[in-house]
């Protein structure tokens, strides 16, 4: 598969680990995102994690799992705490240090959106990484603003009159871009060199950067934990996720999937979509097609 020029030289990736010994589920896309991103950012990094899966699995006193400075923020306060840390570093004259947040989809698109918007508005020099597993997983798989249409969660259950999530995913990438952010990107744990490249790029941005990482959750989505990378790649192949960047006011699709694969096999690989009828699948497919028409019309494509 091609990811254009967005390739990270994997051989330069350090063997050092900065996030280990945690209690995340096998195949967790979120913990993989953090582990890999921190390898790019290195030891002079301060990380903020809000209440959520990654703080729940990584910060139970006295078992601390970060080998860098790390702190849990309030659920709504990832971005505001990042801003405060950067301001504190500035006040203390410390410049050679990265400040990165890792928040889930609910912590980003729902409760944390206000603080994220404020930080981007101020153009604070922070990196905000959303690991999107498409529901509130830590609390037991409840619907978030990034839960996709049709997905079963414990608050959008299978029912005799209604089944699954009735709303589609908020478009966080474009919401963030609409702020005029210095750098934004989408990425996926199925495309690791591309993800690492984007983190590397964010590292050198002097203002706010945002990376939205597609990070599947075997526990919440209902697939085998060994299949996380495959599920991630299938999502991109069928066009329900894409790899793109936003810079200087321009959207750019940096990985062209070509002719999109049918969405059926992606959906049927996960128990959260198993109930979908043909009609519902067609509905999801048609909104995918609308999105791709817009991408082809308005974005640069590599």
């Amino acid at each position: 598969m091609s990811t254009g020029k967005n390739k990270y030289a994997l051989r330069t990736l350090t063997d050092n680990e900065y996030f280990f010994g945690h209690k995340a589920c096998g195949g967790c896309g979120g913990s993989l995102t953090i582990r890999l991103a921190l390898k790019v950012l290195g030891p002079r990094t301060i990380t903020v994690l809000p209440a959520g899966c990654m703080s729940a699995v990584g910060f139970i006193f006295p078992q601390m799992t970060f080998d860098i400075n790390a702190i849990i923020s309030t659920f709504a306060g990832t971005a505001s705490m990042l801003s405060g840390i950067r301001a504190g570093l500035n006040a203390r004259g410390i410049k050679d240090c990265h400040v990165v947040g890792f928040a889930g989809d609910g912590g980003t698109a729902d409760i944390g959106l206000q603080a994220l918007s404020g930080a981007i508005d101020r153009n604070d020099r922070i990196i905000y990484i959303c690991y999107d597993n498409e529901a509130y997983m830590n609390t037991g798989i409840q619907k978030s603003g990034l839960t996709p249409q049709g997905a079963i969660t414990t608050t959008t259950p299978f029912g005799s009159s209604v089944s699954g999530c009735r709303t589609s995913k908020k478009n966080m990438f474009e919401i963030v871009a609409a702020h005029g952010i210095a750098y934004a990107a989408t990425a996926s744990v199925g495309f690791i060199p591309d993800l690492l490249y984007k983190v590397e790029k964010a590292k050198n941005i002097s203002g706010t950067s945002y990376i939205h990482v597609f990070a599947p959750c075997p526990t919440g989505w209902g697939y085998e934990s060994a299949d996380t990378l495959e599920v991630s790649r299938d999502a991109v192949a069928c066009g329900l996720w894409y790899l793109a960047e936003f810079e200087n006011g321009q959207f750019r699709l940096n990985h062209n999937p070509g002719k999109l694969a049918p969405i059926q096999s992606y959906l049927k690989s996960q128990s959260r979509f198993k109930h979908l009828q043909q009609q519902e699948i067609e509905l999801i497919e048609s909104s995918r097609d609308v999105m791709w028409k817009k991408i082809h019309r308005e974005w640069l494509i590599e």
Binding site: P43, R44, I46, V48, S55, A56, F59, I60, F61, P62, M64, T65, F66, D67, I68, N69, A70, I71, I72, S73, T74, A76, G77, A79, S80, M81, L82, S83, G84, I85, R86, A87, G88, L89, N90, A91, R92, I94, C97, Q114, A115, S117, G118, D121, R122, D124
Partner: protein, 393 residues
């Protein structure tokens, strides 16, 4: 030589903040706190004061950002009021649990509903249990002095607890008076730069603000409680040393006025105490032995000082701008608890006044003292009394 300036309560706070040299300020505007952050913004814009100023999008973010800045070892300041303080509620507990020595000014203002921008003390008193040290100022001079002292208290290594400095909305925040402004080098001497070994360190990384299981959680909470209880002695000492350096000593956790030989003692909180003192002067001329005990710190609570007020044939009342609905005033509850802990069965009268900014005049205070005087010889109903109420009780 201290310079004399004509400042409002809010401006005095801004001057106190400037002198204390916080490195990061984040705030969200709310009436009647706005003048504080406007003056600080002007000082920064004119190069008179060097601090990072974050224009945050909410009070929640203001305090969240302060925790981040404090975690990396910066001295921080924020200010809020009323609804804004409530919006911070999650972060208030978070900041005290994380032992971040943040200093915050709160302009005491009524809470919606009904909406009101005017003053009472229900905002901060309803958050008495959030683990912050709470102090209430009487006038602009004390407000300036308290900001400087607040940093000294918050950053004390055995306290490490955030401090909320409360000023009555409008009555104090917007009233001008002559204020002595200390010299910067004297303040620097009193309040050295913030140093805290428990902050993040790039050479020696730390994981902060973690979770703890039932096996450890209670010990963290106990240590937090112990730190605030032990702060009582440190607060008294800091007030004395401030007095030695700047010539103004306030009395520690309480400020008493003519209490020693008083038959009737009215306990007050905040700026109403000034009016109450002048009523005491007047009553004394009329033969009523009145006195005022102004509580300065609600947390830690001055239980020893309150217990020492109890005396045979003396009546004690509490005048407060707050009500814990369905019970009584929160200050009264705390006062009664302190008297009871000292083994004293001592009835007190509870006067609720000034809710939603209703003015409390000299006559209201006088009437409270007349009730107290009567209480010495006959039992006056001990139910909560709403002063100046427009509806039948």
């Amino acid at each position: 030589m201290q310079s004399k300036m004509f400042l409002s309560g809010n401006e005095a706070v801004a001057w106190g903040v400037k002198l204390a040299r916080p490195q990061v300020i984040a705030a969200y505007p709310i009436t009647p706190q706005t003048i504080v952050i406007e003056r600080l913004s002007e000082m920064i814009a004119n190069g008179k004061f060097n601090a990072e100023y974050l224009h945050v999008e909410s009070e929640h973010s203001a305090l969240s950002a302060m925790m981040g800045a404090s975690a990396i070892g910066a001295r921080t300041f924020t200010a809020t009021s009323s609804q804004g303080l409530l919006y911070m509620a999650e972060c208030l507990h978070y900041a005290s649990g994380g032992r971040f020595p943040i200093v915050m000014m709160n302009a005491n203002r009524s809470l919606a509903l009904p909406w009101s921008i005017y003053g009472d003390q229900r905002d901060s008193l309803s958050l008495l249990d959030c683990g912050w040290i709470q102090v209430y100022s009487q006038d602009a001079q004390e407000s300036l002095d308290l900001i400087i002292q607040a940093y000294k208290i918050a950053e004390n290594q055995s306290i490490l607890t955030p401090v909320m400095v409360n000023l009555d909305g409008f009555v104090l925040t917007h009233t001008y008076e002559p204020v002595s402004v200390p010299e910067q080098d004297k303040v620097d001497e009193f309040l050295p730069p913030y140093v805290n070994p428990y902050t993040m360190d790039l050479d020696n990384p730390k994981n902060l603000a973690f979770s703890s299981t039932p096996e450890d959680n209670m010990e963290f909470k106990f240590m937090q409680h112990r730190a605030i209880v032990e702060a009582k002695t440190i607060i008294r000492d800091i007030d004395i040393s401030y007095g030695n350096s700047f010539g103004r000593y306030y009395g520690g956790l309480v400020a008493n006025y003519l209490v020693e030989d008083a038959d009737c003692v009215l306990i007050t909180l905040g700026s109403i105490s000034g009016t109450a003192r002048s009523v005491v002067d007047e009553l004394r001329k009329e033969g009523i032995q009145a006195g005022i005990c102004r509580i300065r710190y609600m947390r830690p609570f001055p239980d020893e000082e309150i217990a020492s007020l109890a005396r045979d044939n003396r009546a004690i009342g509490v005048l407060e701008k707050d009500i814990s609905f369905g019970y009584e005033g929160t200050v009264a509850t705390n006062v009664k608890s302190a008297l009871s802990k000292a083994g004293l069965k001592f009835p007190i009268l509870n006067f609720i006044a000034g809710l939603g900014g209703r003015s409390i005049n000299r006559n209201d205070i006088k009437k409270a003292f007349v009730d107290l005087e009567r209480h010495r010889s006959e039992a006056v109903a001990e139910a909560v009394q709403f002063v100046n109420l427009g509806v039948a009780t």
